[in-house]
Symmetry: C2
Subunit: 93 residues, 2 copies
């Protein structure tokens, strides 16, 4: 069944590209966490509370503003809810 | 209070860098979703089921393998659980 093998090979190629994207995503998420931890450390000095609902909403608005699909804004909102939740849980440096 | 203003300015700089990272993250997540949708379209031809628990576990293992911190592996697993869930929910192209 040549078509079946062709389709499988195509899938493998796309999976290899996804693996490459995941490598970049992990690096960026860690870079983001690094900035987030520095900010957390600076907040007491800046007399700012650790949790900032306005900033979280601002992030979600920006993120959906960058969106060119195929993900829907609600998909990105869901991913970012988890990202922002996790960033808050990461222990300080 | 100069220290307070300095700390606030520092925070603003890190937030600007986070905004830049978020722009890249959104682009990468959409690129990932594009490959994911192509794969979904090819699966029937390749006689593969739409859901592949082995591949999902493989992704989580790879992702934590790329991890150099400060995020913990469990943080990345949580983010990726949402990413993989959302990718499955995205309507086909």
């Amino acid at each position: 069944m040549p078509e079946m093998n062709d389709a499988f090979e195509e899938i493998e190629k796309h999976r290899a590209q996804i693996d490459e994207i995941d490598r970049e995503l992990v690096a960026l998420l860690n870079k983001r966490a690094g900035h987030s931890l520095v900010i957390r450390g600076l907040k007491p000095e800046a007399k700012m509370g650790l949790f900032d609902a306005k900033r979280e909403e601002e992030i979600l608005v920006k993120v959906t503003g960058y969106n060119e699909g195929p993900l829907y804004n609600e998909n990105l909102r869901e991913i970012y809810s988890t990202i922002l939740k996790v960033m808050k849980e990461t222990p300080s440096l």
